[in-house]
Symmetry: C2
Amino acid sequence: MLTNAGSHLEQMFTQLVFVFQIDEEVAKLLELKVKLGGDEGKHQFVLKTAKGTRDYNPKQMAIREKVFNTIISCFKRHGAETIDTPVFELKETLTGKYGEDSKLIYDLKDQGGELLSLRYDLTVPFARYLAMNKITNIKRYHIAKVYRRDNPAMTRGRYREFYQCDFDIAGQYDAMIPDAECLRIVHEILSELDLGDFRIKVNDRRILDGMFAVCGVPDDKFRTICSTVDKLDKMPWEEVKKEMVNEKGLSEEAADQIGEYVSMQGGKDLAERLLQDQKMSQSKQACAGLSDIKLLFSYLELFKVTDKVVFDLSLARGLDYYTGIIYEAVLTQAGVALVCTDAQNGAEESVSVGSVAGGGRYDGLVGMFDPKGRKVPCVGVSIGIERIFSIMEQKAEASAEKVRTTEVQIMVASAQKNLLEERLKLVSELWNAGIKADISRADLIDEIRRRTSEV
Amino acid sequence: MLTNAGSHLEQMFTQLVFVFQIDEEVAKLLELKVKLGGDEGKHQFVLKTAKGTRDYNPKQMAIREKVFNTIISCFKRHGAETIDTPVFELKETLTGKYGEDSKLIYDLKDQGGELLSLRYDLTVPFARYLAMNKITNIKRYHIAKVYRRDNPAMTRGRYREFYQCDFDIAGQYDAMIPDAECLRIVHEILSELDLGDFRIKVNDRRILDGMFAVCGVPDDKFRTICSTVDKLDKMPWEEVKKEMVNEKGLSEEAADQIGEYVSMQGGKDLAERLLQDQKMSQSKQACAGLSDIKLLFSYLELFKVTDKVVFDLSLARGLDYYTGIIYEAVLTQAGVALVCTDAQNGAEESVSVGSVAGGGRYDGLVGMFDPKGRKVPCVGVSIGIERIFSIMEQKAEASAEKVRTTEVQIMVASAQKNLLEERLKLVSELWNAGIKADISRADLIDEIRRRTSEV
């Protein structure tokens, strides 16, 4: 661990003792003290972070940095640029973009001036940015926090403040090429992060809408029925059907027909079969979607990622702005589940982490911001990084390997007093030489005496 | 620019044309179109970012990344860990920490549940974090955005949403050692960023308070007179005096005595002289501060940074929580000033960028959060990164060197149609090999035709 920084330094080293373990040992004693000390005295106020949010400690930050590096490398390998936007937008910028989820938006207090809201995702700010700067072609990534007043399930890696890692391609391209690249990116990232086996479900908004039409769903119920279908990953079909019929007033017959379709999974072959399907083929929309799914799979074959991709008619996704292909990645390995501690009885249960990436095509969103309504076709993917962090943290906990939170190469300390000046001179020379170095808090004897009396 | 990725790939290359310039040329044409097009049609809504905030475009992000890398390397060289805290805190966490500036805090709307505010700096959340986790010793950095409802002067690099880069040392140390390290860090960062000459002003809250006492300022006026002294970098002494006497009701005599002291600048020698000063030496507080300044300068000599540091009795700094040494770095080179365009008449004027780093000791802040009032001594520095960005951006504008916003090594394109599959296969192999690659949007002829018709 000792870096040789020249013979002058070496000479000085002989007068000094280099200690790495003292900090750790003192930390252990201090921890013990905290445990023994209990919680006497009364809190004058609540000492906590806001509901649904958390601090990241140095260990969590070290893991976060590693994950970000993997993801950013992938985005850069695909030639993406990056941008950043403010954490809040004009309230009206977010209005009418998220359907039923709009109620989860955080508003700022009216303190005079503009009405503002915290961003709900990175996609709407991106569309606003494109329209505002009249950009018609860009491949960009954006990693930043977004805000949703949801009921957090923090043990499952769900928070009110959480990171999104978005990659989007805006501009006119040959059909399905950027869409295929987004799926390739999900494949690369999930493989490199080594989270265990995964599957990427693919569907198309036009197939869903076409399916609803041919099953006899009234036009004005498409969006709400779509939201119900979206619950299929959390609820069994019987309950989903009940919601459609009892709450949303759909006929039993229509619901059963939908039930038949949404149980279908496959690949290119399924798309081909559905193009021949007597009912489905009546919908032009559905046919357009199915043809694109076919084309997409042919590109995915070239990209060598078909092993993980499945065409799944039950995939819906809630957001209003999708217009074409949609997708979602889930971890499938039984072993990869978050351990969730039940606060009431201390029991631990394993819960599935759900989706770790999702996205789709949204060709209409930029046009909503352009004063002339000029459209810019876009497709993108968002990596669900918080759930990935939670998994990585649990992995780190379980592993014997210690996570390093500093990069210190040399710790400068002395056994006796009166060498303070030498220590400062030495560490200064190390810094000059670009070596990562730190000084202990006092001379060693003092340090031990003081720290143990602290305990 | 062409990376050789094996003879198989080489063979394929011969069928393909590699183009780097087309995107640039099309971009120029599109830019021209925008200029010619003007702004016909009416905006249905305001297409802008919130007041005092801005987007970062890819070029700005490339500069930002470079600056962050320099700063983070320095923090890591000093053995710092990093943490992150939520963008909002419970409102009561921020209450009573910022004195007169508290009115600039952004509150969130009460949508049921806790009352929340956006963080105003990173120091108070850090103190809350230490108290909450019972941490008594840490050297950490934190880079994140903070929020102030100030009147922004964006052309001078002042925003309502802006980054802070904080480095702090918490814990019991020999006096002035961590304080000296903070100044050394400012010196390292400003030197490495190559922003031109700079000066670091140093003072101590206890010297200011002692000075106020011996000059006859009533105890209850210390804070408000301190705020007025803080304006000396923007206002001449005569105006500052007027505010003290006319607005704050100080006697003319007391003001004149303050005026004498705050004109003093020097080094260790000045501290020694003031320790002998008949009046100043009457204040125990001032003497404690002056002795520490002496000690500080002896460490700064060992750290070889005294060339830039000046003991300046006019330095005040507004924040309430400082208890000991305070400091602020300013750029002094005449050439380094931001060009500020006057929107009214289009005239450009050069304005000074003001402080680019600042900080101090705040030994009481953590105790304000601890239920038992246990204190954790802290000292830290905040790098004023937005102003540094603004300077770097103007430098980049002025320089002929082009800022690269992607790291693409190979652009895959073909001259004619029908090679789409080959292009996709090729780019896929490049990605597999870890090479940064991108495909052009269509075949070249199509691309040129389509893009020029776009214009």
